[in-house]
Symmetry: C2
Subunit: 353 residues, 2 copies
């Protein structure tokens, strides 16, 4: 990352130079305000070669081993929702951040910030979910911490997990390897997690068929890399959704991205909910999907590998990376037009993960 | 840890079997309620050989390397206090948890949970402290995460750091190695951090000479282990103070601990404040002290090494481990009597770190 990047988050996706003097919900959205906070405050403070790629995980050398290391806090509300509770994403999100770098996840830390007055039965449910999710993902919780804050100074349970993984043999994944000509593959339908949380929170029902897609993706990644080890980069489109993942790559790599809107799978329930609520499913969070940037030569093999895995049955080729319009993601619409897919400035869906 | 331990936190320090059905401030105190939560809910859920020693750090094998891994969340209020702000303990606390296992700290993750409305200037101060503390401790922040919660659902800034370190050559430290006959060394005066936070919070002034002792201890540990590699175990007496560190070892190892009250250094300002507030300095948190359990043969050499380091100038031999009264810590008082040093059940000093 050059120093000019730090001054212009997401490259050609410009950020208005409003003087924001306090933290807004949008600073946690995964949108432009988040990028601005990271690139103008956090990255300059801690600049080092491991942090600078700003991938979902850092690669470090420790004791002769090459390790992936990542962290995420989970502040989703409500705690319980169709398809799971805060415990599953707290494991799967960190597992997936490791997997996106081509790492095999091994160990997690678990830190809880509990609000005074939380029912012990709710904590027990969350811990049971974390245990089940860790078992399902094949990772071990090896260290932890518990803090309690006064009533009204927290919100029931905040969970942080950090994770350590080791490189899968042969894989070398980084957003820095993405190149013009790459095919863009998506492992399944977008928007399920975000719409589930939102409808739960607002007491809305959309036919009941919408569930969080929370899932550990390391098995899908292993199948993909076995079929085609030359994958350039992967992202899991969580906060800010598919749009955020694509705009980030386009902005940071100064490349263009072209997406065919009809090619992006969206479940009917999610599409209906988004139309009703005025949301774009492309900016809604996912917790069990991946986007892969794959050299054209391996694209079909990679797509077949995704589709042959239970978590990738709906996988699709959704677009490609181009040298034109660097920093911009363009969307070919169903009626044959073209629009620019931009990041929201701030927050459309707070505390979704 | 045997299964009977899980039913009786801290061995012979028994916990009343009150049926607590919700989270109390005391569950985060480092006292008996914390131990009960860890040993009755968390340990049974995640039981594995890396977690079970319940040391300040876990040792894991990853990619052929032997690594120490730890995590802590920091929820101290107020954010700013004499001697620092939340940023220093957030680095030093995790660095120290690695150092207590005989590890050289290398890498940190940094996860922030920010409350909507936090002044950006306050966040900038905290980030600057984290940067300075990381530089001073020789560790690199390599990965991070930022979440924002609604006004009234957090408290300005919660910080989580996880850390990775590698074993110092020759060191083999674990609470499991503590044995009858071990000398107990303390690296300096107790209670500074907790009394500083409390007086700041309550607007009390105690002559102004009390400051947080927050400091990274890996250099002191390296000097100690170089002088005497046979140290059995170390703890940094943070939440719950010296009493918690000693009761934990006594309870889990089923050994007795004898401490000479006069030998434990306490600064005058801290002693005065504790008398005024009715607090026992032995249960007040420290952020830059260590307790070492050392075979008698190496005790004098170890003590000299501590005292020759700037962070150990006030180091003292404060007691010894005995086979008698297993599970209990006894304190020889200045007037020649003896009392049992027990853990508080719950919370005397909430959100001190």
């Amino acid at each position: 990352m050059s120093s000019s990047d730090a001054a212009a988050p997401f490259g050609a996706c410009p950020v208005p130079l409003t003087e924001v003097r306090e933290i807004l919900m949008g600073h946690g959205s995964g949108g432009k305000l988040t990028a601005r906070l990271v690139e103008q405050l956090l990255l300059p403070a801690f600049r080092n070669p491991m942090l600078e790629p700003l991938d979902d995980q850092a690669w470090v050398d420790a004791g002769g081993a090459r390790l992936a290391f990542t962290t995420d806090s989970y502040v989703v509300t409500p705690l319980f929702f169709p398809g799971g509770d805060i415990g599953e994403p707290a494991v799967n999100g960190t597992v997936n951040d490791l997997a996106m770098g081509g790492a095999r996840p091994l160990f997690l830390s678990l830190a809880l910030i509990l609000e005074e007055g939380l029912a012990l039965s709710e904590l027990e449910r969350v811990i049971a979910s974390i245990r089940r999710a860790a078992e399902a993902a094949g990772v071990q919780v090896v260290t932890g911490d518990t803090k309690v804050v006064d009533r009204g100074k927290g919100d029931k349970v905040f969970v942080n997990t950090a994770g350590i993984g080791v490189a899968l043999p042969g894989a070398e994944l980084s957003s820095r390897r993405v190149a013009a000509g790459d095919a863009i593959l998506l492992s399944g339908a977008v928007g399920d997690h975000g719409v589930t949380i939102l409808s739960q929170r607002e007491g809305l029902a959309f036919g009941g068929e919408v569930r969080s897609d929370t899932a550990p993706l390391h098995g899908l990644v292993a199948a993909l890399l076995e079929a085609f080890p030359g994958v350039h980069a992967m992202r899991d489109p969580t906060r800010g959704g598919l749009a955020s993942a694509l705009c980030e790559i386009a902005g940071r790599r100064r490349l263009g991205v072209e997406v065919d809107e009809r090619a992006v799978p969206v479940h009917d329930g999610v599409r209906g909910a988004c139309e009703l609520l005025g949301l774009d499913p492309f900016v809604v969070a996912n917790e069990g999907k991946l986007v892969a940037f794959v050299p054209e030569a391996g694209a079909e093999r990679a797509l077949a590998a995704l589709r042959s895995h239970p978590l990738g049955r709906e996988a699709a080729r959704i677009g490609r990376v181009v040298a034109e319009h660097p920093g911009f993601v363009t969307l070919r619409t169903p009626i044959g037009g073209q629009r620019i897919l931009d990041l929201p400035y701030g927050e459309s869906l707070p505390r979704i993960c």
